[in-house]
């Protein structure tokens, strides 16, 4: 599975920062660089803080990073939000179907038996908030890195493969008896 389409959407749609000045709009050139700050951008604590915040505030769930392995389920749900602009890459959320149903139930107050459109919508929105929260931890990224709208994939027995990223964070988190994975893939940084 490749993320080029999602990343392209983020790059095309959100890569330019527009500043309104009176009636005129001008595009502001990205003058800052993150090239020297890869270590800061890839700090794993930023991802942990973002995940814990989203789950605590939106779901009322305390979840913690876990050594893994993630629960094995053949049916899984994957959401992808692309990054574009100063950093290109993607935020990927993946869980088993049972975990996705539980997260969607907690978000909406409804019960779900199958991964329907509402469940996919909810998981996509979780991924969107994780991506936004993660980039928001680094001020240069918050202002100069855009997000694509989420794409959600469901299916059985598939694998994700990323070709030689600049850096990658892959963490497993646990709440109750459920696990999920969040991956930040960076394949380009200015």
């Amino acid at each position: 599975m490749l993320f080029n389409g999602v990343r392209a959407a983020a790059i095309q749609g959100r890569g330019k920062i527009t500043v309104l000045g009176g009636r005129e709009e001008r595009e502001q050139t990205m003058a800052v660089s993150l090239r020297e700050s890869v270590q800061r951008v890839s700090d794993p604590r930023n991802l942990d803080a973002s995940v814990e915040e989203v789950f605590r505030l939106m779901l009322g769930i305390e979840c913690k990073r876990d050594a893994g392995p993630a629960n094995a389920e053949s049916e899984s749900v994957t959401a992808v939000v692309g990054f574009g602009g100063m950093l290109s890459g993607a935020c990927v959320f993946r869980s088993g179907a049972r975990t996705a149903l539980k997260i969607a139930a907690q978000m909406t107050g409804m019960e779900f038996e199958t991964v329907d459109d509402t469940v996919k919508d909810g998981i996509g929105e979780i991924c969107n908030m994780l991506a936004g929260g993660w980039k928001g931890k680094v001020p240069e990224l918050a202002a100069n890195c855009g997000l694509s709208v989420p794409a959600v994939i469901t299916g059985r027995d598939y694998n994700l493969h990323v070709q030689a990223p600049e850096f990658q964070l892959h963490h497993i988190y646990r709440f109750d008896d459920q696990t999920f994975e969040v991956t930040i893939v960076c394949d380009g940084i200015q």
């Binding site: 959100r14 920062i17 527009t18 500043v19 309104l20 915040e53 989203v54 505030l57 939106m58 969607a104 978000m107 909406t108 107050g109 509402t118 919508d121 909810g122 996509g124 929105e125 969107n128 908030m129 991506a131 936004g132 929260g133 928001g136 001020p139 918050a142 202002a143 997000l147 709208v149």
Partner: protein
């Protein structure tokens, strides 16, 4: 507080429901909600239905929240109606763009019902 007619614009139907729930928890129990999945749909709603409050996401397909704001001002829709942006984008630059485009409030996702109450109720009372 009497009946409040709110337009909630977000491409996520789940998020629209969460925002509605937060508004009710904030004390807007006599709430009439209109929903739109994009800025373009929001414009259509505003052409046919009067509202007292608008809450909008920024990152949406078809027409994003900032363009939605510019369009409703350009078309003189919803004059005097407070607009609050609810979005994952949290930089000062995004807040500035939203305010310059006509928003009166800004809430970052993820949010609590208390934050919605603090930032929305004063605007509704003042309108």
């Amino acid at each position: 507080m009497g009946e409040i007619r709110a337009l909630i614009v977000d491409d996520s139907s789940v998020m629209r429901k969460i925002v509605e729930r937060a508004l009710r928890q904030a004390g807007l129990d006599q709430l009439v909600v209109h929903e739109a999945g994009s800025g373009a749909e929001g414009i259509e709603v505003l052409k046919s239905k009067p509202v007292d409050l608008i809450l909008s996401d920024i990152n949406m397909p078809i027409m994003d929240g900032l363009e939605f704001l510019r369009q409703i001002r350009a078309q003189n829709l919803a004059q005097g109606v407070p607009v609050v942006m609810i979005t994952t984008e949290s930089s000062e630059e995004h807040v500035k763009q939203a305010i310059q485009s006509g928003a009166q409030g800004y809430i970052r996702k993820p949010f609590t019902a208390e934050q919605v109450k603090e930032r929305v109720l004063p605007l509704v009372r003042a309108a």
